[in-house]
Symmetry: C2
Subunit: 135 residues, 2 copies
DNA sequence: GTATCTGCAAAACATTTGCAATTCT
DNA sequence: AGAATTGCAAATGTTTTGCAGATAC
């Protein structure tokens, strides 16, 4: 996906595609690495020396309000962010700290007697040891 | 469950059952309401005027280390705590903010090709509208 | 030229830490 | 007395906010 298409995605969600916004969205789109604000900032500040963390925060919150991005609380003090993609859970390795996307389908989350709950959002977090660290 | 049994549970996990510890554990055990530190503190300080939030924090972390309690990040800034109970997810109503325990069983979380991940911990968060608010 | 966007500095929180006072045995 | 526990005050770290300067159309 090139910058032109990313700009269109932002415009489609009512967001003016300024340069910082394009770069932050592009970062999330290309890397898919569930970054923290710090990770995004440190990566982009190399190419945008005047970038501030405030702008990263503001932009991410803008994306969240526009339902382009979601934030994850993976059991630490700081939030992580990712482009909204449906039907996958997050596996965090206790050993190496890596975060993996795990797809799922057709999970029955509401048992009998709970059908009246209207589910709009699902977040599944898994903790354990990843294949790489098990060897 | 009375104080005597709670004291035994703490002792079984290597925790000396001081009065604040008993009260905090009892609160979690009886209420089952996924409280924040603030909620616990404000509830208990009525009966224990000298209680401090530091003690609530310290005690909860002690319980977590002993695997008696777990903390939840339900998408806000502050953590919530609950007695460890297996195989249930948390549903938070977008409207009233209530948190519900939803039981589940035999959910297949790892699809084909991901069997090498060793899952030690599962947290499922659901957001939406509860039956009470749908009416 | 006006509205929007950016970014510095300060504020606002939740949580942790250092350490002295208290409590328990 | 000695060891563990408690709690105040200060520190820490993330995220938000106020506002002035910069940018875009």
């Amino acid at each position: 996906m090139d910058s032109q298409m990313i700009a269109e995605q932002l415009l489609n969600h009512g967001i003016k595609p300024s340069y910082p916004r394009l770069q932050i969205y592009k970062y999330l789109y290309m890397k898919r690495n569930h970054p923290t604000v710090d990770i995004i900032y440190n990566s982009l500040v190399k190419e945008m020396p005047t970038l501030s963390k405030t702008t990263v925060y503001n932009t991410l919150n803008l994306f969240i309000d526009a339902h382009l991005v979601t934030s994850l609380n993976l059991d630490e003090n700081e939030k992580r962010y990712e482009i909204i993609i449906h039907d996958h859970s997050h596996f965090k390795c206790e050993n190496c700290g890596n975060i993996y996307d795990i797809p799922y389908e057709n999970i029955q989350l509401l048992p009998e007697g709970f059908e009246d709950f209207q589910v709009n959002e699902v977040q599944i977090f898994l903790g354990g040891i990843c294949p790489h660290c098990k060897k």
